[in-house]
């Protein structure tokens, strides 16, 4: 069990790297705009476990890649807040990512049921 657990953790971290980026794009595409903590909580509520140490570097990289855009807002004193929105690049990327994801999931289901003696 120990070995499988270790391998699983390793696989999961690789798998989630790309998956999380897709989730962030989905979220921003849906909600319009959001900020770090809210994004983290919505992902966690949706069942995608994510920590600060994963999310903020990802947001930083995606901002650099220009799939999302960040801007500071000062809706009230004391809490200037950095909001993220999806960019046009991000929208185009999301369409392609969804296709890939669906295709991959379908392929996996196909293989899985194939294994049961189709």
């Amino acid at each position: 069990m120990g070995a499988a657990e270790g391998l699983y953790e390793k696989w999961k971290s690789q798998f989630r790297k790309g998956f999380l980026e897709l989730c962030v794009l989905e979220l921003l595409s849906n909600s319009g705009r959001s900020y770090g903590l809210a994004i983290m909580e919505r992902l966690n509520n949706a069942g995608v476990d994510v920590t600060e140490g994963t999310l903020y570097p990802l947001l930083m990289r995606m901002t650099k890649d220009e799939s999302i855009e960040a801007q500071w807002e000062t809706p009230e004193v004391g809490h200037p807040r950095k909001y993220y929105v999806i960019s046009n690049i991000g929208r185009a990327l999301l369409v392609r990512m969804r296709e890939e994801y669906e295709k991959s999931a379908a392929a996996q289901r196909n293989l899985m049921s194939g294994g049961q003696g189709l």
């Binding site: 903590l37 600060e52 140490g53 994963t54 930083m60 500071w72 000062t74 004193v77």
Partner: protein, 365 residues
């Protein structure tokens, strides 16, 4: 680990990142911590920090995302941005003791004054940058509830939170319902939002014109009232229950409050009288004037450059501990060098700290 230590280590290990990005990420994480603190009032600041990913590994991942090499491959040893003591060897020290390089450090409840001032400057930079960029967009689409003038029957309400920019806010006591009105405007557009079952948020809308003034009548059933403004003044005429006020440049006056009072400003002046229970007051450059009440439990005052004046009634008993770096201390007209002053029976603990402000302690005439 304290919050300051966390941020210090994070900032230090992000060395090599350009200043704007560093500023950005530090403030973003600070906002994250503020958010967590608001959502988990039951947790201490340290508890929240302890549940986070260690700052070292967060920094490592951020470095990676920013395309920087691992921490430690230092090129020039450029001074760390919070290190203003001019000790070059501070950089080489173990990151687990960032406080070691400070020559003077004033800490009030985990919050380092110097850090608070730096943060205020960082926030000012963002204000400026936003203004320069004239970014469009607002929060209007999130919730936009035009609020008819008064009469919200909210007997279950325990916590009211008010946010405004330039509007002055006046707080009065209500024997009955909670009332909100804005005298000048016909139909003020305020955002009223339930945040949790017993919490009400009132805010002025971003991008729309604000009323000049917002009047609040708050019943005693509301345990907590917090108010924050940018330039708006806050005037509390009468309040029963705890009170927390934050402003940037707005002045704060509290005439009467039966309940704990906490006030923070950047440059706004603070004037408190007849405040009972516990008082906690801090400012960067505003002046502070407090008229101590017989019913006070404890007082904590801090400033960076603002002057502090404490007037106490005849027969009052308090033990004062005063720390100032370059300011003067005066007690009943006499200059004192002592850092500890005892008045009467010494019952009420009073802590005063300032960097360059003068401190005056005076008996009521």
């Amino acid at each position: 680990m304290t919050r300051k230590e966390y941020i210090d280590i994070l900032a230090q290990r992000l060395e090599g990142l350009d200043e704007a990005s560093l500023n950005d990420i530090v403030l973003e994480i600070e906002d994250h911590l503020d958010g967590l603190a608001r959502e988990h009032p039951e947790k201490s600041a340290e508890q929240i920090i302890d549940e986070l990913e260690p700052p070292e590994s967060l920094a490592d991942s951020l470095r990676d995302a920013a395309g920087l090499g691992p921490y430690g491959e230092r090129e020039s040893g450029a001074p760390h941005h919070t290190d203003q003591t001019g000790q070059p060897e501070g950089q080489a020290e173990d990151s687990s003791s960032p406080s070691a390089k400070k020559t003077v450090r004033i800490v009030i409840d985990d919050e380092d004054l110097e850090e608070a001032i730096r943060k205020a400057f960082d926030i000012a930079k963002i204000f400026k940058r936003n203004r320069d960029e004239k970014k469009e967009g607002s929060l209007k689409d999130v919730y936009n509830l035009s609020f008819g003038i008064k009469g919200t029957e909210l007997s279950d309400l325990r916590h009211v939170s008010v946010r405004a920019r330039s509007a002055d806010i006046r707080v009065l006591f209500s024997n009955g319902e909670l009332e909100v009105d804005t005298p000048e405007e016909e139909e003020p557009t305020l955002l009223m939002q339930h945040a949790g079952k017993d919490v009400l948020r009132i805010a002025t809308l971003v991008g729309s014109s604000e009323p000049d003034r917002i009047n609040l009548r708050i019943p005693a059933s509301v345990d907590e009232l917090d108010i924050s403004t940018a330039s708006g003044d806050v005037h509390v005429v009468d309040r029963v229950g705890s009170l927390s006020i934050v402003t940037a440049s707005g002045d704060v006056v509290v005439e009467t409050c039966e309940g704990d009072v906490e006030v923070k400003t950047a440059s706004g002046d603070i004037k408190l009288a007849q405040c009972q229970e516990n008082l906690k007051v801090s400012t960067a450059s505003g002046d502070i004037s407090i008229q101590a009440d017989d019913m006070c439990n404890a007082i904590e005052i801090s400033s960076a450059s603002g002057d502090i004046m404490l007037v106490y009634p005849d027969g009052w008993g308090a033990s004062l501990s005063i720390s100032t770096v370059s300011g003067e201390i005066e007690h009943d007209g006499l200059s004192v060098g002592r850092r500890r002053v005892r008045i009467g029976n010494g019952l009420v603990p009073v802590r005063i700290s300032t960097v360059s402000g003068d401190v005056r302690i005076q008996k009521e005439e």
